[in-house]
């Protein structure tokens, strides 16, 4: 028995966590393998072409990859896999994008047949210009992103050596008074800056905003920050004023209500993707200043039109921030080619172990439908089934019991269906925040919750993203957007901010037994279970009798 790693023929790598060499091995394989699952004993990594090219982009070669596998592997590594790795990695860098003093942006190849092959592709033809010499072809500067994306799809990813524009300089410093960037945040900033552009993956609550601030302090240039909604825009602003040398006046908000363009501008995806008469009137924001840095918050939610526009921003540094690279639409490769490769990630549990995010106790509460509900469920139309079982009356009782149990703790009740939430709000005597709640009212309620004046808040899915609830210790999820894994991760993130008293956070998911609610819940939990957050399952009856 030697070696902590088992290389499977399906290109997954199993890493035994409790092995002495596990840490060394993890460091060796992290640059090229994607961490897929991190439960308690065996972590699963996967070798993907994207990951291998990522590694090439970061300066690793096939020999290093093979060495790492052979060195730590417990059993002989299948030969075919090694050959495959070498072949895949050799595909990267045969094509390079670079700046030519005379011709501007050019695509150069060290392997002429490859160039011939890609030039023959119908998708590439409209993106390239004149053939300068047998190995070089001109590329229109505005197609830099497009061609990278296309070449990746063709399996010949191009190395982008064309560099970045510095953008308009603007002094930004971190105001590290009484706090400092955490080590992993520093690493993330360094990883990003060294690589030029890319994505940083950190768990919810691990301080992604600060990574953004750190990157801005490195760039010292005007910055465009794209966030999911207005509330989150305010939080960014608040945090930046607090943590950096920037003042309120230097930070503009570009949203549905305000249209300010300042050296640092925070815009929402929603306003950018607003469409009037077939055009996106707000996309000109990208050109309104000479941005030196573009930050994409929650990059896994980046809407398709923004992708399209990002393709034209390839000369600017781009930083993507996210808790998970899982996209429900499977467009991970677009993130890779347009924003950049993954520059940093850390398993949730590792950051939890360092004490930067709160440990969480995840509990799935199974409730039984009453006999009459079961009958009604059985006869419900397919599209109504989820709504029916997710809003069963029994859940209300259980939720009330849970709130009672955690009386005095800051508790969030999160759900999908407004009727259900209104009813819960009534029974729990708690305010409800939903889509129609005005921003002013929302902030007022959040403040009250933050100050502890309110201890229970019922929120709809508007609260999925970027609400900073520092002392929420209990979250109760009563219904969700079907089987969305990243929603579950976001919601758990609501309670993972470290607690002042080091208290363990609790995350309850109330699920109706033997219905599709249970199937969806299983799907939703899978990502977290793979991140090492094991769910306990308890029966509602037990819980009710305990009380």
């Amino acid at each position: 028995m030697t070696g902590p790693l088992i290389v499977q023929s399906d290109k997954t790598l199993l890493l035994e966590v409790d092995h002495d060499q596990a840490d060394a091995c993890r460091r060796a394989i992290a640059p090229f393998a994607e961490l897929e699952r991190a439960p308690e004993h065996i972590h699963t990594y996967r070798l993907t072409p994207l990951g291998l090219w990522n590694a090439r982009a970061a300066g690793h070669d096939a020999e290093q990859v093979v060495d790492a596998l052979v060195q730590y592997s417990r059993y002989p590594v299948p030969h075919a896999l090694l050959v495959d790795i070498a072949e895949t990695m050799a595909r990267y860098g045969r094509l390079t994008l670079s700046k030519h003093p005379v011709h501007g942006l050019v695509l150069t190849s060290t392997d002429r047949p490859v160039l011939e092959e890609i030039l023959r592709s119908k998708k590439v033809q409209p993106l390239v210009g004149a053939r300068i010499d047998p190995d070089t072809v001109a590329v229109h500067p505005s197609e830099r992103g497009q061609i990278k994306q296309t070449l990746l799809k063709l399996g010949w990813p191009a190395e982008d050596l064309a560099g970045y524009v510095d953008g308009e300089a603007h002094p930004i410093e971190l105001a590290e008074d009484g706090w400092a960037l955490r080590p992993y945040q520093k690493q993330a900033v360094e990883g990003f800056w060294h690589g030029g552009s890319g994505v940083v993956v950190l768990p919810c609550g691990a301080g992604k905003t600060l990574v953004g601030a750190g990157a801005m302090a490195q760039a010292k240039a005007t910055t465009l920050i794209l966030v999911t909604n207005t509330v989150s825009a305010r939080q960014w602003k608040h945090e930046l004023v607090k943590r950096t040398s920037l003042t309120e006046d230097e930070i503009g908000e570009y949203s549905g209500t305000r249209k300010e363009i300042r050296p640092v501008t925070i815009a929402t995806y929603q306003v950018l993707t607003t469409r009037r008469k077939g055009i996106y009137p707000h996309l000109e924001l990208f050109d309104s200043r000479d941005w030196g840095l573009v930050i994409y918050d929650e990059v896994h939610l980046l809407p398709a039109p923004v992708f399209k526009f990002t393709a034209d921003l390839q000369a600017r540094r781009r930083l993507g921030l996210t808790a998970t690279l899982v996209r429900e639409d499977g467009r991970e490769s677009d993130v890779f080619s347009l924003i950049g490769p993954k520059r940093f990630d850390a398993p949730w549990k590792e950051i939890e172990a360092q004490g930067y995010i709160a440990p969480a106790d995840c509990v799935e509460v199974r409730v039984n439908l009453t006999d009459s509900e079961r009958l009604a469920y059985a006869t419900a139309e397919t599209e109504e089934k989820y709504r029916f079982c997710a809003t069963t009356a029994t859940k209300r009782k259980v939720t009330e019991a849970l709130v009672r149990k955690h009386r005095g703790e800051q508790t969030l009740v999160i759900g999908q269906y407004i009727d259900q939430l209104d009813e819960l709000g009534e029974h729990l005597n708690a305010p409800v925040i939903k889509g129609e709640t005005s921003n002013a009212q929302r902030e007022k309620l959040f403040d009250a919750f933050r100050e502890g004046e309110l201890s229970v808040l019922v929120v709809s899915k508007v609260a999925n993203f970027s609400i900073d609830l520092p002392e929420a210790t209990v979250a109760i999820q009563v219904s969700g957007t079907f089987g969305s894994r990243q929603e579950e991760a976001q919601r758990l993130g609501r309670v993972l901010r470290p607690k002042a008293d080091g208290h363990e956070a609790r995350f309850y998911s109330v699920v109706a037994r033997d219905t599709i609610d249970q199937d969806f819940a299983a799907h939703r939990q899978r990502f977290l279970a793979e991140q090492g957050y094991a769910y306990r399952i308890v029966d509602a009856d037990e819980l009710l009798t305990d009380n």
């Binding site: 088992i6 499977q8 399906d10 997954t12 199993l14 439960p39 059993y75 002989p76 279970a529 769910y535």
Partner: protein, 819 residues
């Protein structure tokens, strides 16, 4: 001093016993049946089939030597032969000193081989190639020689007129001779004389030289028009091109040899091409990689057969697996289809799977599989490897087509290639001859194999890998890697042992490299179990029943799902069994979600019960049912209580009614909807029927259409039978006798029909249809072609086509009778 042998038989007779044994060893076909004496042996050694076989077993240089001898004078001294291989030393712009030296070194050995195989006999000053071999290797228009040389001047001028020969001599600047034989000698002498030939060619126009350039290395034949271009004419007039037929000319051998500086082969290959290594790996790494693959091979075959445990795929009518089944198998094994075909064929070759020979034939594991599965992994591998080494089946062909364009299916017929085991052994022997850890480049291996066993008549180009032997060799390399014969391209130590020593030694070498089966797994809260290595069989069996396999390789990842747990419960396990099993085999505590999952599934398992009953008894009074069950007479009804007010019975409703009535009850039958069935006597009805139609005397009265048709038919038949026919000139023809079929010879038939088609007149024919029924018809031919006559048939009143060979005879109709 013995006299030199005059025949092959004498040469053989002169050889000692050992040398004769060597001959028989090299050419075992000479032994069946054992020849009666040396003469018989020599005769048999000279038969075409045997010589072909012997030539096919020569390496490339020996074959080149034989080919050179075939174009040399018979007999040829050693020096001539050497000259044909090295050239006559004239400088042709390339330095060949090293090559010539190598030829000089290798030639005696090649000659020894040829002598030993009785293809060449005679002393060095009088080397003779066996006549059959000479015929096989010598050039002829049908089979151009591998040397690319044409026939000699004497052979090419064999049919030429003496006058033409003298013309050639004159044009070539030679004195006239008296007879053709001396003319040929004179011309040959010119062509073989380097100096004079050089002078002659110096006068040639440049285009003529370029024509020669095209022909010099063969094929030596060229097409010419009846009026050749001046350069061709120049060459033809001087005998440098000799006519073979009106349109073909040939470059005579002597002239070609002069142009080639005396060499029979463009590239003599005295030395086998070197096998180049792509990498020299650590032998230990090679062995462990191969062992890993060997273990994978064993587990894959086991997995394949396990998946066919309950009856494998159906066998195609033509034999073999359908493409769909192969695809399915490939998906099951998570490999590509060609690889899946390899595993299936391997299991078949090892006798682990076969047809079950039932009415609807399916593949299934054989009893030998059960024995095999009990062996330790290394012995299982040895069984597979030995079967593979000897197998003539070539899975590489699967997916291709045979000569008739039929698809070749896995396990199907026509996959046997007798060359396979030999090629496989050659490849492995070649690998074994390298240092341990050396991974050779496949193309150099192929080149070496082609040198050792060249294909007769095939092009010697190095990159050509389409011939069967090369393909088998490539497959062998691939399959070796799959099977763990080689590891990372180099031969593993256990394979060397298998080839040199035997199965036991190979197994002993392999055993320590194969991971020990484990007795535990790691259970995780995301409902997976990871076995960090191979598992002990009972554990693996149980786990694969209880969980789905998600990832395979050195380790196995299992995932528990409600479905998989239910499968285990269906297989007779209880929830408590499962808990105990997991607790016993897990290194870590069983995660709560997993225990919960098992309990949750177990809770619902068997909640609904399904069974079959033929009829039931229902009664609102429980006491009556109690009574009924207690009654001993009810035993034959096989009643079983399902609920307080319902019993199930295993007899049909009628018998149940009868039985209960006999017991003194008054049961009533129920319909499917629960209504009481009222039984009344005589209520049986047929399905709807129509009343029978009366049967009148005589046939039914025909309707108008039928009548019209009948009249027309009668009329036409009448015309056919009664028309007066023209006398066709043959007095004895029975055509005159009306009523019988006309008879004419086929030539007459054809002529008459053609004439009728031209004039558009009607004919009276006798015709025999496909059933052999003869009839007479009146037709007006429209067209005669391809043995068919298309005609308007007056009898049938439509245009029809008749095969001419079915027309027994024709007669023209009298003009006035034309309808």
């Amino acid at each position: 001093m013995t006299t030199p042998p005059r025949t092959l038989a004498e040469a053989l007779r002169a050889r000692d016993d050992e040398s004769l044994a060597g001959l028989l060893r090299a050419r075992p076909d000479l032994l069946t049946p054992v020849p009666g004496d040396i003469t018989q042996l020599a005769t048999r050694a000279g038969t075409r089939a045997s010589v072909v076989r012997a030539l096919e077993h020569l390496d490339r240089f020996a074959l080149q030597t034989a080919e050179a001898l075939a174009v040399a004078p018979d007999p040829a001294p050693y020096e001539t032969l050497l000259g044909l291989l090295t050239g006559d030393g004239r400088d042709d712009g390339e330095y060949r000193g090293d090559a010539d030296a190598a030829i000089g070194d290798a030639l005696p050995a090649a000659l020894t081989t040829l002598r030993e195989q009785a293809l060449v006999w005679g002393e060095d000053d009088r080397l003779r190639l066996v006549r059959t071999a000479r015929e096989l290797l010598a050039p002829s228009p049908q089979y151009p020689s591998p040397t690319g040389l044409g026939p000699t001047v004497a052979e090419a001028t064999a049919g030429m007129s003496p006058g033409r020969l003298q013309d050639i001599l004159a044009t070539a600047g030679l004195p006239a001779t008296h007879d053709p034989v001396s003319a040929v000698t004179s011309l040959s002498a010119l062509f073989t004389d380097r100096a004079r030939m050089g002078e002659l060619l110096d006068t040639a126009p440049a285009e003529a030289l370029s024509v020669l350039d095209r022909l010099v290395w063969g094929p030596p034949y060229g097409e010419v028009t009846p009026n050749p271009t001046p350069p061709v004419k120049w060459l033809r007039d001087r005998g440098l091109l000799l006519p073979v037929s009106t349109r073909t000319v040939v470059l005579p051998r002597e002239a070609a040899l002069h142009l080639r500086a005396g060499r029979a082969h463009r590239v003599p290959e005295p030395q086998p091409p070197a096998v180049e290594a792509v990498a020299n790996r650590d032998p230990q790494a090679v062995d462990s990689a191969a062992a890993g693959q060997a273990f994978l091979a064993v587990t894959t075959v086991e997995e394949l057969l396990k998946s066919w445990n309950g009856g494998g795929p159906a066998i195609l009518r033509a034999g073999g697996l359908s493409v769909r089944e192969l695809k399915k198998t490939a998906t099951t094994l998570d490999v590509s289809e060609p690889v899946a075909a390899f595993w299936v064929e391997l299991a078949y070759a090892a006798g682990l799977l076969a047809s079950d020979a039932e009415a609807d034939e399916r593949y299934a594991p054989t009893p030998a599989y059960d024995d095999w599965a009990e062996l330790p992994a290394q012995d299982r591998w040895v069984r597979l490897a030995t079967a593979w080494l000897a197998a003539t089946r070539t899975p590489g062909l699967v997916g291709g087509q045979d000569a008739k364009g039929r698809a070749l299916s896995a396990l199907g017929p026509d996959l046997d290639r007798s060359a396979a085991p030999e090629v496989r052994h050659r490849v492995l022997a070649l690998l074994a001859s390298l240092d341990p850890g050396t991974a050779p480049a496949p193309e150099t291996v192929l080149a070496r194999l082609r040198w050792e066993r060249p294909l007769r008549g095939a092009s010697a180009s190095a990159g050509d890998t389409t011939d069967l032997r090369s393909r088998i060799a490539l497959w062998t390399l691939n399959e070796s890697e799959l099977l763990g014969i080689t590891g990372r391209g180099a031969l593993a130590a256990h394979t060397r042992a298998l080839l040199d020593s035997g199965p036991a030694e190979a197994a002993a070498l392999l055993a320590p490299l194969i991971p020990e089966p484990l007795d535990h797994v790691l259970l995780q809260a995301d409902l997976t179990a990871v076995a960090p290595g191979p598992l002990e069989r009972p554990l693996a069996d149980m786990l694969s029943a209880l969980a789905d396999i998600e990832s395979k390789g050195g380790a196995t990842v299992y995932r528990f799902t409600p479905g998989s747990v239910r499968r285990a419960l269906d297989a007779g396990q209880s929830a408590a069994d499962l808990h105990a099993f997991l607790a016993a085999h897990s290194r870590t505590p069983v995660p709560q979600p997993l225990s919960y999952l098992i309990d949750d599934v177990a809770r619902r398992h068997g909640h609904l019960r399904i069974g079959a009953a033929s009829s039931y008894v229902r009664c609102d009074d429980e006491a009556v049912l109690n009574e009924l069950l207690a009654d001993r007479r009810s035993a034959t009804l096989r009643l079983r209580r399902l609920a307080p007010t319902a019993l199930a019975a295993q007899v049909d409703p009628a018998s149940l009614l009868e039985g209960l009535r006999e017991m003194g009850y008054a049961p009533a039958a129920e319909s499917a909807e629960g209504d009481v069935l009222i039984t009344r006597a005589g209520a049986r009805r047929t399905p709807p029927r129509t009343a029978p139609v009366p049967v009148p005397e005589g046939p039914p009265v025909p309707d108008a259409t039928l009548l019209g048709a009948a009249v027309r038919a009668i009329r036409a038949g009448d015309t056919a039978a009664t028309v007066a026919r023209k006398d066709n000139g043959t007095t004895d023809a029975p055509a005159a006798s009306s009523g019988s079929l006309p008879r004419t010879t086929s030539a007459e038939t054809l002529a008459t029909v053609q004439a009728a088609a031209m004039t558009g007149s009607a004919l009276w024919i006798g015709y025999v249809n496909a059933d052999g029924a003869a009839s007479q018809r009146v037709i007006a031919p429209v067209r005669v072609e391809g043995g068919f006559v298309t005609a308007y048939d007056h009898t049938a009143d439509e245009v029809r086509t008749y095969p001419l060979h079915r027309i027994t005879g024709v007669a023209e109709l009298a003009d006035d009778a034309t309808p």
